[in-house]
Symmetry: C2
Subunit: 612 residues, 2 copies
């Protein structure tokens, strides 16, 4: 790739950036777009949709950018929770690393590389037609002592990144504790999910749970909610929703005046079907709440957080495969489909997902290889001679490859999320975390290893140092959106941070491995030997962080739980909260929604459900 090709790419991207920026500045001011850009403000009623037209609405402005970044961490914490704060810290962390590595790269490494003569001597007279290779480490002469500059850079970057990682981990860890201390009593803090409940013949799951916890946790046990087989009910309710949607659409559709009679017929038809389906749902709901539709799983709530923690930290029964306890997800975070899946189905899904991930990762090499072909235009001209007349060399080699890669990369996160969702997780946050990991390893494998065998070394180093790949799964949002657009569905209180930490550590060690390789090729064996302590120290640092911080991201310690529980003793609303716990974890299908107007009678279940 030539310098001119790179410059073309920078030019095109900058142009597009200015264009999108301007468009956004104007579009966001149009009241008709408020639903897209500030839905949370609309919902809160703090933004008024109908404003009088004025000229300002058509002039792009930049004030919103500074406003977006001016939001303090406290604002963000209050409006969007700790996860949003952690996400913002990931972004600023990435920027810091990028800036540090970028400055060293451009002002120290690049001049050193350009000063070498291993490939070419740089041609200052015709700068745009120099190959980019002149600026890479390949151009430094073998055995040259200038390589010690690169050696120093590796040490510096590692120390800087580790220092940042440590302070971030520590900061987020403290924030996590503060967040917990300041939180209101929340259902998932008091609740555990119990699976593999062994039910003896003639007994119900509900009774078994009640007896077990009353016997072994008599002072802390509060209530339980047995999980029911609801897939049929959900199907019916989905169908009802779809019918209702069609009905609404039909009634509001005023264009088809020509076929008024047919429309009335259709409304009638759908209305009847909807009533039918809802009647069926009602019957199914009463049917499902019977004991014989119970699954061997239940949410069990305790009178204290510490009580719940004691239960899920310990093996309960003599048979370790019975009475499996885990921390309950938040009520909104529960992902219901997999409670009813059999052990076998879950097992097969897992294997299918693993195979699919591997296949996707391998098949993705195809676009990567196409891109590699494009950067090598000489080859391309031989294959397709007509190309030369259609496109300029700069666009094809400089801009198109990245564009193609990015388009293909956009497909990956949704696919990975889909794969994670059929893997058997029972909470949305687990699905997202798993998808996040999948995307990360996909990226590392594909972007890194696939280019390593053909690209230039500086480019590779840049990828490793370039932290924009790391929060790529998360990288779809900016503050403005957190505060005005997205309402977080669940709160993990920063549990995503360890993923970022781990991938940074991996990237650092990979960088060390590459450095060893380069110094060996460049015949500076002292440097490659002296790099060795670096990965060892980095891994020891990681081990220390795993011991020092990670446990607090998995469960809260006894000290914290007990202190928090003692606070509740003075809380007047706690009794009310405990009452609400008994129904918080009911399947949403039991909270009947009725679309047809057949009256309230349908809303009542035929039998009361057996939960406490």
């Amino acid at each position: 790739m030539l310098v001119s090709a790179l410059l073309t790419s920078v030019g095109i991207n900058s142009g597009l950036c200015v264009l999108f920026f301007t468009l956004y500045s104007i579009l966001r001011k149009q009241p008709s777009n408020y639903e897209v850009y500030v839905p949370r403000l609309l919902a809160k009623g703090s933004s008024n949709r109908r404003r009088r037209f004025n000229l300002e609405m058509l002039i792009p402005s930049a004030g919103w950018v500074s406003r977006a970044w001016k939001h303090s961490e406290e604002d963000l914490l209050e409006s969007s929770g700790l996860d949003a704060v952690v996400f913002m810290r990931v972004i600023t962390f990435s920027l810091k690393v990028f800036l540090f590595a970028g400055i060293i790269g451009i002002f120290v490494i690049l001049p050193v590389n350009a000063g070498g003569t291993e490939i070419y001597e740089i041609d200052f007279a015709d700068l745009p037609n120099n190959s980019l290779d002149v600026f890479t480490i390949s151009n430094v002469n073998r055995g040259s002592h200038r390589l010690w500059v690169h050696f120093g850079a590796v040490y510096l970057v590692t120390i800087f990144v580790c220092y940042l990682l440590y302070s971030e981990y520590k900061y987020i860890c403290v924030k996590r504790m503060d967040y917990f201390y300041s939180s209101k009593p929340q259902p998932h803090q008091f609740t555990v999910l119990v699976r593999s409940i062994p039910v003896s013949a003639g007994s119900t799951v509900g009774d078994t749970v009640e007896n077990f916890f009353k016997e072994f946790h008599p002072t802390t046990y509060l209530s339980h909610t047995v999980i029911h087989q609801t897939s049929n009910l959900c199907r019916l309710m989905d169908y009802a929703k779809k019918l209702y949607g069609r009905l609404i659409h039909l009634q509001s559709d005023s264009n088809q005046e020509k076929n008024q009679q047919r429309k009335v017929d259709l409304v009638d038809h759908y209305g009847k079907r909807l009533e039918n389906v809802e009647e069926n749902s009602r019957l199914e709901r009463s049917e499902v709440s019977m004991a014989r539709h119970e699954l061997q799983a239940a949410f069990v709530s305790f009178k204290s957080r510490y009580g719940a923690a004691i239960a899920f930290h310990m093996q309960q029964s003599t048979n370790p495969t019975d009475w499996l306890l885990e921390q309950a997800p938040e009520p909104n975070d529960v992902y219901w489909p997999f409670f009813s899946a059999s052990f076998m189905r879950r097992w097969i899904s897992k294997i299918v997902v693993v195979v699919a991930c591997i296949l996707l990762t391998i098949l993705f090499l195809i676009p990567v290889l196409v891109v590699q072909g494009l950067t090598n235009l000489n080859q391309l001209e031989i294959w397709f001679p007509f190309l030369k007349s259609i496109l300029t060399i700069q666009v094809v080699t400089g801009y198109l490859p990245n564009l193609i890669l990015l388009v293909f990369l956009k497909i990956v996160p949704p696919v990975m999320e889909f794969l994670s969702s059929i893997q058997g997780y029972i909470s949305h946050s687990d699905i997202q975390k798993s998808a996040c990991n999948k995307v990360l390893w996909f990226m590392i494998w594909n972007i890194f290893f696939a280019t390593v065998f053909s690209g230039s070394v500086l480019y590779q180093l840049n990828i490793v140092l370039d932290p924009k790949n790391i929060p790529s799964r998360l990288g779809v949002a900016v503050p403005a959106q957190f505060i005005n657009v997205y309402e977080p569905k669940y709160e993990t209180a920063g549990k995503f941070w360890p993923i970022v930490h781990n991938s940074m550590i991996f990237s650092l060690v990979l960088m060390h491995a590459i450095a060893v390789g380069i110094f060996t090729i460049k015949k500076l064996s002292t440097a490659s030997t002296l790099i060795f302590p670096l990965p060892v120290l980095t891994l020891l640092f990681n081990e220390y962080c795993r011991k020092r911080f990670l446990p607090n991201f998995i469960a809260y310690p006894a000290e914290v739980l007990i202190k928090k529980d003692r606070e509740d003793q003075d809380d007047a609303t706690i009794a009310e909260f405990f009452d609400s716990l008994a129904i918080t974890y009911r399947h949403p299908a039991f909270l009947a929604v009725h679309h047809s107007g057949t009256g309230d009678s349908l809303n009542r279940p035929l039998l009361s459900s057996p939960e406490t």
Copy 2:
């Protein structure tokens, strides 16, 4: 190796076996040897040392063998604990596997191998001069359908071993629970070991522990024993013991009549030194029990087993590197030297031990290679032509190699135990378990991999199937000894079983890998493909066992602990037991032993120690 060489080896071993058997039969009946053969009976007073001489004492007899095996499991459990029972089950388990594989090997596999013609056709006329290779799988012709017999044998042996493993694991698991239910209250059940206690300036470790547990475990906390820096005191006491030994030796020594005056002088000299040292010990003991010699570690006892379990299952403090809790070892099982070791020293010891283990494993290849050289006598005759006249071929090729190997192997367990003892463990049982694992991996690596590259395949298969390697660390005892000789120092209640289980699983998978290799070499690719499900199923089986049984070997479940605690409520002696808990975990150096006769006054410490 020729058949005749094998037969010579069998002959020599059988002869030695009969010789040792006869010697043992006679020696054990001599009253002067009772201290060696039945020390436990002597100690209990149930064996009378002075018996009148009779002729029977000189005639070898075999009755003790049947008596040794007649002991029921209940006898063994009562006299030597569950570990002894588990050990016996390991022995019988090994015998069962050995018998099953041996019968298949000799009566099915061996004739099939001998029927092949790949190497030689067997020469029935001169059987002793056939090479042993005739009986190995190497002799089966390529692509021969007789290889399906071997295929079947691999499946059969795997199924048999897995079945045995499952039933043993299940049996021992049940026994372990029974043993726990039937046990008297024991100090280690109620106690946890706390390390990394964060002490603020001006406070003692004892106060810190007391405050922490009174705050966070108010209902279950009972008492604590802070651990003190005692290495100086121990040195002094060891020295006193040595002096005392010399004194006793000197006083009882009646041979040196010629130098009576010198003897009196020496006795006087040692006596004075002993008094001196004991006075120093007494001062040191009072000194050590002061707060400034406290280590940041303590044994903390609880009022219930469940209380102790709750504490060590959960992270206690916000900083996960403070307040590290673990299950306490039995009081006799505590290995004191490593409480005072700094983090750095422990860390370096660990690295040194790992390096030493690797070196030992590699250096051990030297005797193994020598042995390999010996079995290849033709080579030897060329190097040392005089050998032929000194030794018969049979002894050198058939017996000597095994003898040399066995002698070298005898050195390994003590060396590994020494290495484990400096690795930082704080209980004897952990040291033994770690040594056990080290010896196992050493064996697997050396005996297996070192012979794999030169020996014949049947021999290798035999090593894998031959379970005598597995309990090799333990394999120094027979029942007679359990009951009459060894008094177990500690009781792990069967925690050694998982090691046996894991090594059997490893052996099975290794066998499958070898089988795949052989079937590929022998051009029977269908068979090598059809072996593949076997390691997968074996590993799944292992995973199931890990889930189903292993947790019960690590900690007792809540159900069991709570039931056991409830039993205690009716126990009148429990208050007394709780009182004793406060001093059970004191360092033995505080229990002063006095050798010099300077009166009881020295026995009293100057100050009372600060423990509760």
